[in-house]
Amino acid sequence: MATPVGVALKRTALNKVHKAAGARMVEFGGWEMPVEYAGITQEHLAVRNAAGLFDVSHMGEIEVRGPGALALLQHITSNDASRLKVFQAQYSALMLPNGATVDDCVVHRLADDSYFLCVNAANTDKDFEWVSAANRFGAEVRNVSGQYSQLALQGPRAAVILARVTDAELHRLRYYWFVEAACCGVNGILARTGYTGEDGFEFYFPPQRSEAVWSGLLEAGKPDGLMPCGLGARNTLRLEAAYPLYGHELDEETTLLEANLGWVCKLDKGDFVGRDALAAQREKGLRKKLIGFEMTERGIARDGYDVLVEGRRLGTVTSGSPAPFLKKSIGLAYVPPDCAEPGREFQIDIRGKAIGARQVALPFYKRPK
C-alpha cells in the first residue's frame, strides 16, 4: 500500500476542508486522507450511538454500459448480476481464475444496460485495466472515478439527519437500493449502503459541489451529535462488523470461500472467471479459513502477527485492533480449517510473547434491530 517516494498523493475535493478542520492526514491507497478528527474512539462511538460523516471520495467508480454490459459483469464477477433490478446494488467480487479476487466491489444497476462498480481506491487502476481486458462482450467500460465525490453518512441517526436535506423518500429506500436524489441541493446517487455495520447512506455526486454537501450534512446533523470521521474509525467499525478489507482478508491468493464469502459465489449462475476453482475447492475443502477472535489476556493483536495453536505457528492475523464499542481487543485471522471452531483457545504471538485468545462467532457486532 506504500506509495513510492516522489509520487504525488491524490487528494479529494475536500482535502483543504479536512486540513482546516484539524484532521490528521495520512497516506492511504495513494491518497492523502483524513485518518481522524476528534479521535478514533469518539468517532467510532458517534457512529454506533448517533451518526458519523466520512469522505470516501478515494473509492473508485467504474462504469459498464451497453448491450454487452450484463454479459461482461456475469463473466468477471462472482455474484449474480442478472438478479439486480434497476436502482439495486449488490456486493460482489472481481475474480481471478484461481478463485481469488482482483478486488471486492459493489455493483449498482443504473438502467437496463448501465451499471457502475464502486471499488477500492488502491485497486481502481488495476480493476479498470482488468475489466477492460476481459471485455470481449462489446461493453463500454470507463473509469469515471474523477467524476464523483463520495460521502458516507452512517449511524442510527443517519436517516433522520439526511431527511432534513434531501428530497428522497428515505422510508422507501431499502438496504442495498439507491435513488437519484438531491442532497443539500446537489444531484447525485443516494444508496442505502455502508461499511460500518450501521444503517446509513452513501452519496455519489460531482466533486465541484463537495463542500456544500459536506458542510450541509454536518450542519443538519449537529443536533443529533453527527461527527466528521476519518479512515481510522472506518476501519475499526468495519472490523467490529467483520467486513473484509482488501489487502487484509482478501488478496490475489485467497479464495472467496476461504474468506467466508461463499454467499457471494453464485456457482449456478453459469460460467465465470474462477468458477471452476471455487467449485473444486467446495468439493475438496479449504486450505485455510477466516475466523474471528478476541484476546483473553492483555494485549492487542495486529496485522501480520502469528496465530499459535498448541505452540505451533499455524495462522496469521489479517486485521487486529481494540474494538471501541465492544471494549475488547479483537481480530480476524486465517487458520487451518480443522482449527476453526468457535470457543477454541489459542495464542497470538505479540512481539515475542504468546498471549491468550479465543475464537468467537462472526460478526463481532450486529446492530440492534
Binding site: R24, G232, T236
Partner: protein, 129 residues
Amino acid sequence: MYPPELLYTKEHEWIRVDESIGTIGITDHAQSELGDIVFVELPKPGDAVTALESFGTVESVKAVSELFSPVTGEVTAVNAKLQNNPELINSDPHGEAWLIRVRLKDRRETESLMSADEYEKYIQEEKGD
C-alpha cells in the same frame, strides 16, 4: 507548549532530571501523532534500561509504537495509574502521565538531548518533510 525544564529525544520522549533520578515520558507531539492511547507496556522496578534502546511499548487504537530510553540506568518507579488509565498519556503527557523513573548511570548522557526550543524546531522540520 513544551516545558523548558524537560529534555527531549528525536524519538519523542522527554526526561526531567532531579539529582540522579530521571523521570521519562512521551511528548505531546508523540501522543498527538499516535491518537487514542489504549495500552502501555512498561518495565518493572529494578529492570535495566539502556540509552537509545526500547524499554516498552505504547499502543493507540491504530498502531503500536516502541518507547526508547533517553538514558541508561535502573528503573526505580513505574507509573501504576497508566495500567488502567492509559488515556492519561493523551490528556497530560508532560505531567501526570510520566512513564518510568530511572536512576541514571551517567548524567553526561543527557548532554546530547534537545532543549524545548530545539525540540520544537525539530518537530517543525519533521512536519515540513
